[in-house]
Structure formats: structure tokens, C-alpha cells
């Protein structure tokens, strides 16, 4: 009796999970379905599960459309995401290491000064940040889009927590061998901390690729649009070419899904390690 109940409960749970999984996947399906459909198929009142024909030509049409600089936006997003990721990793890991391992009287004060910025929601400072960036003359430049986002207190915090738990023996051996902090860091610490670099790197990359408000505010000229801003300009413009819009969205998600599937293990580890719990 009990066994049967337990088994029924298990089957019910599995069934519920399968239904939920399907629901979670539907938006992805719609994205691809519409991206490869003709305009008529998307707007047909007779909704069909499969499009009548797969329109691979949509991809070519998207890149040939002169009214939206989509290829340029992709390039901008790629440059921004890569630069932000590398810059954040270098700056935040150095700071995290210094905070965790170099004895200094005021280290804690500096740390709380950094941590305090987490309490200041980044989105609330966008007005003054915009003012600052515009007074530097960085509006609509890659510099303006990248540099202000390089100083992630979150990344610094994760690195510090990680280095606090890093085995000291390796560094001690390096110090005995006469390596200073600098070389110990690059030759011993970084190679030993690859998982946390991968985890933080993927999280930062996803965030940079998907961010919207900052690129919207700073990237005013079309030449400085990111993929997200270009997509948004599609949805809010007068003439909507739905098939182009959807295929653009698919193209914008693909690199991320690739990163996501390749590095999922690291992302999960990074989120778990983020020290927020």
C-alpha cells in the first residue's frame, strides 16, 4: 500500500516536471518557429504548430536589410561582452586576491567600501553615470559602453571569498622559491583557480551580452547599438517586419545558448559559490 503510494507520488512528480519542462521550452520553440517562417505564416489567423515552409532566406534578408545595422550590432555586442569579461576577470581577481591574501591594516575598510556599492542598485545611478560618461565625451563610443561596467563588486566579492579558502601551501612554496606577490599570482594562483575564473567569466559574459538599459542610454547612435538595442528598436519602430525580427532574436540568442550549454557546469558552480547564501 505504502509502496504503491510512494510510486504514484513519484510518477505524479515526474509527470508534473515533464509538463513544466514543455511549458518552459515553448517560448524557445516559438522563437525558432517564427524566425524561420514567412511573414504570412506568422500573422496567419490560422495558427499552426509547424510553419508551412522553412524560410532560411530570413537570415540573409536580416543581414542585407540596410535599415537596421544588425551585423554591426552583433560585432559591437561581441566586442563589449569579450572586453567586459576579460577586464572584469583581471581587475576583480587582482582586487579579490589582494583583499584576501595581502595583509594590510585598512584592508577591511576597503572591502566594506567595495561591498557597500552592492547596496547601491546600479540601475539607480544610471542618471548620474550617464552625466559622467557624457561629460567625458564617451557617449556612443565603445569606451563608454565598456569601461564603466568593468568594476563589478559582485565579481570582486566572489574572488575574495574563493581566495580566502584557497590552499595556502602552494603560495607558501612559491614565496620560499622567491617569487613575489605578482609572480605568485600569475604563475601559481591563476592557474590553480581556473574553475572560479570560468564561472565568473561566463556569468559576466551572459550579463554583458544581455544588458539593455546601459547600452540604450549610452549607445545613442546606430553605430554604437548592441544586439539588444537593435532588437528593441525593431519592436518599437513603426514598420515591423516580424520574420526579420524573430530571426534576429534567434541569431542574438544562439551564441549565448552555446556558451551556456558548454559552460553550464561552471555557471551553476559559480552561482552556488557566489557566497550570497
Amino acid at each position: 500500500m505504502d509502496d504503491a503510494l510512494v510510486r504514484a507520488g513519484r510518477a505524479l512528480r515526474l509527470a508534473l516536471l515533464i509538463v513544466l519542462a514543455v511549458v518552459f521550452l515553448i517560448p524557445f520553440y516559438l522563437l525558432v518557429r517564427n524566425g524561420l517562417s514567412s511573414e504570412q505564416d506568422i500573422t496567419s489567423p490560422q495558427w499552426t504548430f509547424f510553419p508551412k515552409e522553412l524560410e532560411w532566406g530570413n537570415v540573409r534578408e536580416l543581414f542585407d536589410d540596410p535599415s537596421v545595422p544588425f551585423a554591426r550590432s552583433l560585432l559591437n555586442s561581441a566586442l563589449i561582452a569579450v572586453a567586459t569579461t576579460l577586464g572584469t576577470l583581471v581587475l576583480a581577481s587582482l582586487a579579490g586576491y589582494g583583499l584576501a591574501r595581502i595583509p594590510y591594516r585598512h584592508a577591511n575598510k576597503v572591502f566594506y567600501g567595495i561591498l557597500g556599492t552592492l547596496l547601491v542598485p546600479a540601475a539607480v545611478t544610471f542618471v548620474p553615470s550617464f552625466v559622467l560618461v557624457s561629460s567625458l565625451g564617451w557617449i556612443s563610443t565603445l569606451r563608454g559602453l565598456i569601461v564603466p561596467t568593468l568594476f563589478s563588486a559582485f565579481a570582486c566579492f566572489v574572488f575574495r571569498q574563493y581566495f580566502l579558502g584557497f590552499p595556502r601551501e602552494l603560495e607558501d612554496a612559491a614565496q620560499v622559491d622567491g617569487l613575489g606577490y605578482w609572480r605568485t599570482y600569475w604563475l601559481v594562483v591563476v592557474p590553480g583557480a581556473r574553475p572560479v575564473f570560468a564561472a565568473v567569466g561566463t556569468i559576466v559574459f551572459l550579463g554583458a551580452w544581455n544588458s539593455f538599459l546601459w547600452p540604450l542610454v549610452i549607445g545613442q547612435d546606430q553605430s554604437a547599438w548592441t544586439v539588444q538595442v537593435a532588437l528593441s528598436s525593431f519592436t518599437t519602430s513603426q514598420v515591423v517586419r516580424l520574420h526579420e525580427l524573430f530571426v534576429a532574436a534567434v541569431v542574438s540568442v544562439l551564441p549565448l545558448l552555446l556558451v551556456f550549454l558548454l559552460f553550464q557546469r561552471w555557471i551553476v558552480a559559480g552561482v552556488e559559490r557566489s557566497g550570497i547564501d
Binding site: 517560448p27 545611478t125 563588486a153 547564501d277
Partner: protein, 300 residues
């Protein structure tokens, strides 16, 4: 020796700290400064107006409405996301087969941006005309098509906005809960079984949930902070070529239009940002206190 260490400390921490100061602390102070000036179209204002910007913002119905919008939004999204992500984590954690598969499927939307998700929601699922998925499904059961995003009464757009965020974020918080569940000592469950507790509600209430306390606190804090900063989905779902509708404007959207829109009123925008920052700080700290953040399990 000590001075050499201090030097090395600043070699490592200095560049990061200087950048953070320049791009977080300076804008913050600048914002506070601007909020006391009449700063329309200028970042170097000369006309000091005291608290006028603040009183103007607080007497501005549109701004106060935007705060109300946020409160309703938060009241919806925080408990719903909390419960859904917790339920997902509990189910995925106990499933025997294909655990990694389910975890991936629920986490996968985190790779999508709000812009992309808003596109699917606005143009494919909740389209106001017949060809949207939701209206097609409604049609099968004989219902009339609903103008999901255009109507304010009943406010169907809430359903659209809440489900976007839920889809994008539930998987992320599920991962946090899964991490919390992994850390629960199995001995506790064994002891409960010996004491005759049947798996189910009793164990959930007396062991699992108390053990997840720290994770729960973190998740709730993150949910509230993120809800306060809602911008992307509101902007992309509701604005079109004609502009942004006056209903359903959360504070950030309102500030965006005040400070960077037509008027470029940076003084007013800054005052609004300071008010919003103060509210967020008070709510966050109050919430942390109320949830007794930092209390460790050892304190009981």
C-alpha cells in the same frame, strides 16, 4: 616590510577600487548634488533650488503612481517567483532520472535577455490579435481574443509582465535553492525517519525549510532588489512607435523618460533617483533586519 605590503596591496586592489570609486561613488555624489539644482539640459547647473526638485517629484502624480506600480509589481512577483523556484528545486532535487536535464531546461531561459523574451511574449504569445498563441488557445475554447497589452481594465498586461520575469528568473533562483538543498546533512533526514516522521509536509516544514533559511533570505533580498530595478520588460513590452503608455510605468521607466527623454531634466531625474535609492536602502535594510540576515544556524 609592512610598507612594501601596503604598496603591493594597492597594486592589486588599487585599479579596481579607483574605477569603482569613479563609476559608482562619483555618480552617486554628483547625483545628490544635481538634485538640488535646476539642471535642465545641463550637467553644470548654476541655479540652486534647494529641495524644490524633491517636492516637485513627490507632488508629481506620475512619479507617485510609478512607485505604486512598483509596489503592486513587487507584491506579485516576489512571492510567486519564490514559491515557483522553491517548488522546482524540491521537485528536481527528488527526481531520480534526468535530473540534469530538468535542471538545464528550467535554467535555460536565464540565457535569454529580457528584450528577446519580451519579443516572444509581445509578438507571439500575448499578441492582441488572433495570431497570438494565447488568443488561439482562447479561441479553441470559444473565448474572445483579449488585447493583452493594450487594456488597463482588467489589467491583463500584468499577467504578461509577471510571466516574462517568472520564465526568465525562476531557474536562476532554483539553482540557488538546489545548492542550499545539497548542503543539508542527510543525517537530519535519517534522524527524522527514525523518529517516525513520514517524508512529505512534516519533513519539509521541520527540516528542509528551516535548513534553507539562509538561502531563502538571500533569494528574497535579491527578488525585491531586482523587482525595484525592473525596466527592460516594461520598456520592451509596453512601448511602441507611439511612445510609452502612462499606465504601468515603474520608477525606473519614469526616471528614464524624465532625465533622458524630451525634457532632459537631470535635476528632477536625480532627485527621483535619490528618492528611489533611499526607498531601496530602507526596504533592503529593513528586510534584512526583519529576516534577521546574518543570523547563523548555530544561533538557533
Amino acid at each position: 616590510m609592512r610598507r612594501r605590503r601596503a604598496l603591493w596591496f594597492w597594486v592589486f586592489v588599487g585599479p579596481f577600487a579607483a574605477g569603482l570609486a569613479l563609476f559608482t561613488y562619483v555618480p552617486l555624489l554628483w547625483s545628490v548634488g544635481l538634485s538640488f539644482f535646476d539642471a535642465q539640459n545641463t550637467v553644470t547647473p548654476t541655479h540652486f533650488v534647494g529641495l524644490d526638485n524633491y517636492t516637485a517629484m513627490l507632488e508629481d502624480d506620475a512619479f507617485v503612481d510609478s512607485l505604486r506600480t512598483f509596489l503592486v509589481f513587487t507584491a506579485f512577483i516576489v512571492p510567486v517567483t519564490y514559491l515557483v523556484s522553491l517548488a522546482l528545486a524540491l521537485m528536481v532535487n527528488r527526481v531520480r532520472r534526468a535530473r540534469a536535464f530538468f535542471r538545464s531546461v528550467f535554467f535555460l531561459p536565464a540565457a535569454c535577455s529580457y528584450v528577446v523574451a519580451a519579443l516572444v511574449w509581445k509578438m507571439s504569445i500575448f499578441n492582441g490579435v488572433r495570431f497570438g498563441l494565447a488568443n488561439t488557445v482562447l479561441g479553441w475554447s470559444g473565448g474572445d481574443p483579449v488585447a493583452w497589452l493594450a487594456g488597463t481594465r482588467p489589467p491583463w498586461y500584468w499577467l504578461v509582465i509577471v510571466t516574462v520575469r517568472l520564465w526568465l528568473q525562476a531557474g536562476f533562483y532554483m539553482i540557488l535553492f538546489l545548492a542550499g538543498l545539497q548542503r543539508i546533512d542527510p543525517v537530519l533526514y535519517e534522524a527524522a525517519a527514525v523518529d517516525g516522521a513520514r517524508p512529505g509536509w512534516t519533513v519539509l516544514r521541520h527540516i528542509t525549510l528551516p535548513q534553507l533559511r539562509a538561502t531563502s533570505v538571500a533569494v528574497l533580498l535579491l527578488l525585491v532588489i531586482n523587482a525595484f530595478q525592473a525596466f527592460d520588460e516594461f520598456y520592451n513590452l509596453l512601448s511602441d512607435a507611439r511612445g510609452y503608455p502612462p499606465y504601468a510605468r515603474p520608477p525606473l521607466v519614469y526616471l528614464y523618460y524624465t532625465a533622458l527623454g524630451q525634457g532632459q531634466n537631470l535635476g528632477l531625474g536625480s532627485a527621483g533617483a535619490v528618492i528611489l535609492a533611499l526607498i531601496i536602502a530602507v526596504v533592503t535594510l529593513g528586510q534584512a533586519r526583519w529576516l534577521r540576515l546574518g543570523r547563523t544556524d548555530a544561533d538557533g
